[in-house]
Amino acid sequence: MVKINGEPLDMAGKTLAEYLASTKYDPMRIAVECNGEIVPKAKYGETVLQEGDVIEVVNFVGGG
């Protein structure tokens, strides 16, 4: 299991890019943290989610 935004999901073995493609997140409006570190955008395709990873997708909304 991979914990993504607090929810355990059966995503181990998939890449971060594959996970994101299965969601409604707009890739231009997010930052992704994995086990306490930011994942560079260029590495979403090669980042394979591991059993026990804790991920947070920060989804930005407009206004300021």
Partner: protein, 213 residues
């Protein structure tokens, strides 16, 4: 110009309130503010009042009549660069603050050059894409900085839903995370100021050695 206090008098008053050691940390620090709208202009006023030594202000935009309901500008400043108008307003509050201004758009290409001198960086943009660009860029390229960003402060939702969260060791996020201005709920001064206050307050907490939100 009317008589204003001397630099020494103002410094002494800040030290009396914050303690000499803490005020020294504030005075010796440089904070960059990216975006000078409702968030950035209010963050800047708070930090200038607290005696932060130097602010780097970045915004390409000019003051517009539609800004006056929530941003720290005056009606007679419409049409001027926000960098220039805000620097002027800050110097009326804190005459001895150092202010560096850049009337440019922040991009992935120029962010290192614009922000390398800052100890802490506040993300205070309006558009979600710009927020994400800055956050990803700073966290990928400027590893030693603290970044305090904001997302979700539009509308008339509860003041109590605005929070500060620590996402990584050096990345904090303020706001309710969901109230999007694109949902036509507008922005009102107090709720934007609340979020700006969260950001400015986190800056002061980090400088004082308190890293939890």
């Amino acid at each position: 110009m009317r008589c204003i206090p001397s630099k020494e008098d103002m410094q002494r008053e800040l030290e009396a309130r914050h303690g000499k050691d803490l005020q020294q940390k504030f005075t010796n620090s440089t904070v960059a503010i990216c975006g000078l709208g409702g968030l950035g202009s209010n963050i800047a006023v708070s930090l200038a009042r607290a005696g932060i030594g130097k602010l780097i202000l970045v915004d390409f935009d000019k003051v517009d009549i539609s800004n006056l309901h929530r941003q720290q500008y005056k009606a007679d400043q419409i049409g001027r660069f926000k960098t220039e108008a805000l620097a002027e307003n800050l110097r009326e509050i804190a005459p001895y603050i150092k202010v560096e201004t850049h009337a440019v758009a922040v991009t992935e290409e120029n962010l290192e050059e614009l922000l390398s001198e800052a100890d802490l960086i506040c993300e205070a943009f309006d558009r979600a894409e710009a927020k994400a660009m800055l956050v990803n860029g700073v966290l990928e390229k400027l590893h030693t900085k603290y970044l305090i960003a904001a997302s979700g402060m539009a509308g008339l939702g509860s003041a109590n839903s605005i929070q500060t969260r620590r996402i990584t060791n050096r990345f904090y996020l303020c706001g309710d995370g969901i109230s999007d201005v694109a949902d036509n709920i507008g922005l009102v001064a107090p709720r934007v100021m609340l979020c700006a206050a969260h950001q400015a307050h986190m800056v002061l907490r980090i400088l004082s050695g308190n890293f939890e939100p």
